[in-house]
């Protein structure tokens, strides 16, 4: 069911980022990421081995699996965030809408402008709420106060935070609760209108109510964005995701090394109700992990 895709240039300078990306792939079912035999390394340590999967547009894809199975590592290779880790590199190819992500000419900065990320721990800047959301547009060159106001309001509304903070936009973001901070971080990600949002266990530090709000939010923005979420919470995966990738740890007793592998990838319902692999079965039924 793959549609032909146009190649997008991922080189700087390019300002109208997400808008362009959305126009040429407005149909559902288009693949956003194509990972082919990807192995991730930290120095000489191979953290993840031979992952191949396709992530589809306007869907929520969940990565689940036990600790140390490399799901966060794979997530961070999708927007070249792991470039920041000294010694991290990959083998294999990742295509983002047809363009090779790890091509030499690709600018990681241009990649990250299209592919945003929400982290495990809420990490607002020590600035005002307004400045947090306006940060992304500002680094993309938007200076006009009216335009920024508009973007800040729209992003905060999308993140279901506007009503709670509209009267204290100039207060420090660090004075908010954890759940609010995380929604602020989502608003900050949305402010640059990315094509894809990567979420690395966005709810692991939040209570069930805040988690519920963020899950509702994910459903709401799904029609406009493609979301990949790493989660430890299998209920969350079943609640929010369309597809699920289950990773596991492969231990090699001879050399005493461990590496992450992709065990199974498919529709969430299938992965949880009719898993093809015995390891998936054991994990999703709670017998292992």
């Amino acid at each position: 069911m793959e549609q032909p895709e146009q190649k997008i240039k991922l080189t700087l300078p390019e300002t109208s980022t997400a808008a362009a990306a959305k126009q040429d792939g407005g149909f559902t079912g288009a693949s956003v990421f194509d990972a082919k035999n990807v192995s991730c390394y930290y120095g000489s340590f191979r953290a993840v081995t031979d992952v191949s999967l396709t992530i589809y547009e306007n869907e929520i894809t969940a990565f689940i699996g036990p600790s140390g199975c490399g799901k966060t590592t794979v997530l961070r290779t999708l927007n070249r965030m792991n470039d920041l880790v000294v010694g991290a590199h990959i083998e294999g190819d990742i295509y983002y809408r047809g363009a090779s992500l790890y091509d030499r000419s690709v600018s990681p900065t241009a990649v990250r402008r299209r592919i945003g990320m929400v982290f495990q721990k809420p990490n607002p800047f020590p600035k005002s709420i307004y400045d947090n959301v306006a940060y992304g547009p500002r680094i993309n060159g938007i200076r006009s106060k009216g335009k920024l106001d508009e973007i800040v309001e729209r992003s905060l509304r999308q993140a279901a935070l506007w009503d709670e903070v509209k009267n204290r936009l100039n207060k420090s973001a660090l004075g908010m609760s954890g759940g609010q901070q995380q929604r602020l971080c989502i608003a900050r990600t949305l402010s640059v209108e990315p094509d894809v949002i990567l979420m690395d266990e966005p709810c692991s530090a939040l209570d069930p109510i805040a988690t519920g709000k963020i899950e509702d939010l994910m459903h709401e923005i799904k029609s406009r964005y493609t979301i990949v979420i790493v989660t430890h919470n299998m209920q969350q995966a079943t609640r929010v995701s369309d597809r699920t990738a289950f990773y596991s740890v492969l231990r090699d007793d001879k050399s005493d090394t461990r590496t992450g592998v992709l065990v199974e990838y498919g529709r969430t319902q299938q992965v949880f109700e009719d898993p093809h692999d015995a390891r998936t079965q054991a994990y999703v039924t709670g017998r292992v992990g």
Partner: protein, 300 residues
């Protein structure tokens, strides 16, 4: 607290014996150390104020002619030295603070583990320990002597103080940059920021209060240094507002020369200079507090 209960009562008080004694001994030692630290600090300030206060007058701070050592206190003043100190230190700060912060940014954000970054880091560590008189001699050799008679100037003094301040600024700024949590950098990178953006808009603002106070400590330290100025600025008796030409003077130099002389007037002037220096340092740190409070209003 007598809740009716049939459970046995539990003793929640601190257990006695050796463990409690250890706690008390340690607490006592800490209070003792606190007092011991306070004594020399308090005595220094008390002594300087007690002896220097009577020298301070508007004339003392502004009069452009430093009187000969034999003159009593009422004559002339230290205006020349105040101007010299302010000019020399300000220009030294202008050289050393930006360079030092850039150096620290390079080591922490850009250099990583490259040999150049390690070299700068190592050399700045070494330079912190170099005696300040060596900085004076260095500038004397490479700047003052080649320029002959015109070599002695406020500029040469600034160079010497800048050499002294540079490693201090690099070290303190580096420590502050290390403290910036990595998740803030990642948040910025994830929005598509370039490295320079991340550094300018996230890393430096997060570290600004520490960098400012570290730099001001370095400035205050340099303002009080005598040795680097001994061979570099000369010691004249009248105000020289031109930093770039002609010998000038500075408060530490005047303390040095006046305190060595046997006359009462000179001795009192030395104490007055000392008090002036301390007040200048105090004002600097006070300004720093206000400035950094403005920068860091969102961090709490």
């Amino acid at each position: 607290m007598s809740v009716v209960s049939n459970q046995p009562t539990i003793d929640l008080r601190e257990p006695g014996g050796w463990r409690r004694s250890k706690n008390q001994i340690a607490t006592g030692l800490m209070y003792f150390a606190f007092v011991v630290i306070l004594v020399p600090l308090g005595l220094v300030i008390f002594e300087v104020i007690a002896k220097g206060a009577k020298a301070i007058s508007w004339q003392f701070l502004t009069s452009s002619t430093v009187p000969p050592n034999v003159m009593p206190l009422g004559q002339g003043g230290m205006g020349a030295a105040v101007v010299g100190t302010l000019e020399i230190t300000a220009f030294a700060a202008l050289i050393a603070v930006p360079l030092g912060i850039l150096g620290a940014v390079y080591i922490n954000e850009y250099g990583g583990r490259t040999w150049l970054s390690r070299l700068i880091s190592f050399m700045s560590d070494v330079m912190v320990g170099v005696p300040s008189i060596v900085m004076g001699l260095f500038i004397f050799t490479v700047w003052v002597i080649p320029h002959g008679l015109t070599g002695l100037s406020g500029l040469a003094g600034s160079f010497a103080l800048a050499c002294l301040m540079l490693p201090l600024v690099i070290r303190s700024a580096y420590e502050m940059l290390l403290l910036v949590p990595n998740h803030l950098r990642e948040a910025s990178y994830a929005l598509g920021a370039t490295k320079s953006r991340v550094t300018l808009t996230v890393v430096l603002p997060s570290a600004v209060s520490g960098i400012v106070s570290g730099s001001l400590l370095a400035i205050a330290r340099a303002a009080g240094e005598t040795a680097p100025l001994l061979f570099t600025v000369g010691a004249v008796e009248s105000t020289n507002t031109n930093l770039f030409s002609g010998a000038t003077t500075a408060l530490p130099l005047q303390i040095f020369s006046n305190a060595l002389s046997p006359y009462t007037g000179a001795e009192e002037r030395a104490w007055g200079c000392a008090l002036t220096l301390i007040v200048i340092a105090f004002i600097l740190l006070f300004v720093a507090r206000i400035v950094t409070a403005r920068f860091t209003r969102y961090t709490r």
